[in-house]
């Protein structure tokens, strides 16, 4: 299952994002040994402060098993900044219909071998598919992705080989990195689906995600305060009444939202 979290819905999933940063810490700071900064186990950089979109793979319980980050190439992004060495002094690609994808990773601990829905292979394909579909539905035609040679092999093995590369392979700390191009076409997505054995819709809605056991378990039930606010909103009959009721709930938002963060 794939959930997209961005600046508009991230307040609903604080613990899920935390799990994602922990996963990135384990993968990029630990297993892959990238030159990234890890704080209390969480890997973050300043692109995470620019309201990127995260495409996140969840298991049936509602735990993060994979994630990738997307940014527009028209604004600040990694290739225009920290990965500029890959481009060998060349200015970065800038296009309304190309997104940059970075920090692709899967949780090898939570996932097993083989081909089933809880396997590494399935989760990898599902995340590739999810990120391509999300881009395609947004009017994006191509993705430029910053990866290491290991990920490059994973892409090729998953019948999702890049159609080209931009710039050169550059040394980024301990590991080389390169920029690859992927088209967001039905043909590519069909190949990934066939390879991963993925059928049907991969995305889940915010509501479906909130109902998953691990996520529901740490969200406290609605407080009396929240219920009261919602009753006031639905009982309003005039525009003025409705405005007043909506504003009351917005003023109390901090108190209402804190229920999402109550339990770890």
């Amino acid at each position: 299952m794939i959930l997209v979290i961005d600046a508009l819905n991230k307040h609903k999933f604080p613990k899920l994002l935390d799990e994602m940063f922990l996963l990135r810490g384990r993968v990029f700071g630990g297993r892959l040994g990238w030159d990234v900064s890890v704080d209390k186990g969480r890997e973050r950089d300043h692109f995470d402060d620019l309201d990127p979109a995260y495409v996140i793979g969840l298991d049936d319980e509602g735990h993060v098993v994979s994630c990738v980050r997307a940014l527009q190439t028209t604004g600040p992004h990694m290739l225009s900044d920290v990965f500029s060495e890959i481009l060998d002094g060349e200015p970065p690609i800038r296009s309304a219909t190309i997104w940059e994808s970075t920090r692709f990773c899967v949780d090898t601990k939570r996932l097993g071998r083989g081909k089933g829905p809880n396997s590494l292979s399935y989760a990898t394909c599902e995340l590739m598919l999810g990120s391509l579909e999300y881009a395609q539905q947004s009017g994006i035609t191509d993705i430029i992705t910053v990866i290491d040679p290991v990920m490059d092999r994973v892409l090729k093995r998953s019948d999702n080989a890049p159609y080209d590369y931009v710039g050169k392979v550059a040394d980024m700390g301990k590991v080389p990195a390169l920029a690859a191009l992927l088209d967001c076409t039905d043909e590519r997505m069909d190949r990934i689906r066939a390879h991963g054995g993925i059928e049907g819709e991969v995305f889940i809605s915010d509501e479906q995600a909130l109902a998953l056991p691990a996520i529901a378990a740490r969200t406290k039930p609605k407080s009396d305060l929240e219920k009261y606010c919602e009753e006031q909103i639905s009982a309003a009959t005039t525009k003025q009444e409705k405005l007043a009721a909506l504003r009351l709930k917005e003023v109390l938002e901090d108190k209402i939202r804190s229920r999402m963060d109550q339990r770890a």
Binding site: D6, L87, E90, L181
Partner: protein
Amino acid sequence: MDNLPSIFGQHDLFDLEDLPEASDDFSRFLFNVRDRFGVDDIAYAGMNPVNGSIFGHVTYNDDWKAHYASQGYHKIDPTLHKARRSIAPVDWARLDRDSNFLMVFDDARDFGIRDQGLTIPVRGPYGDVGGLSVTSSLSQKEWNKLKGEVLVGLQSVAVHVHDMVIRSDNLSNLLRTPTLSHRELEALQWTSAGKSQQDIADILSISNRTVEVHLRSARHKLYALTTAQAVGRAISMGLIYPG
């Protein structure tokens, strides 16, 4: 900016039609886009990151424009302020029906404007942000179908309008000189020599699609809608030689 009255302060709204230069082009362009994509109305709003002023240009009727500005809705409009924090187009169905949404759209209905639409957020390299919104009164089913058909085109339009507006601002003018990569220049140079995309792919030993990627990037950097326009601009700027 120099020509604007100094009473405009933080978060004030500029109707680009009042701007002395290039205003006709913006207006004509947006009306053309509206007709071509089959939507009811199109609105662009951009924010200058340095002084926080908001620039707007819309196809809405004058009554709604006047009401919107007089109520100061540009300060609270969630289709501007919330949607721009996404990287993907935001269907307004995704926005909370909060007090700001109700304020704006309850009034909008009185002016014949529906709350069915979407906003394409744009981010520029200097921290400049903007959004292109379209509205539609089609049935929900038809609207979803239309979205699928026009989004790629609207993405390009959104960035194009944004870049034009930001470029027309003197401040960012100073910051802007196009930086084209060698591949982008090569692709433009061969295009100006009359080569097709496939020819260029063969010459440069890269895929056809990569040539397209470089040409598209070059078009954006040169604020051109077509490759021919980009070639013309690159020649006039001395970036490539006439073919």
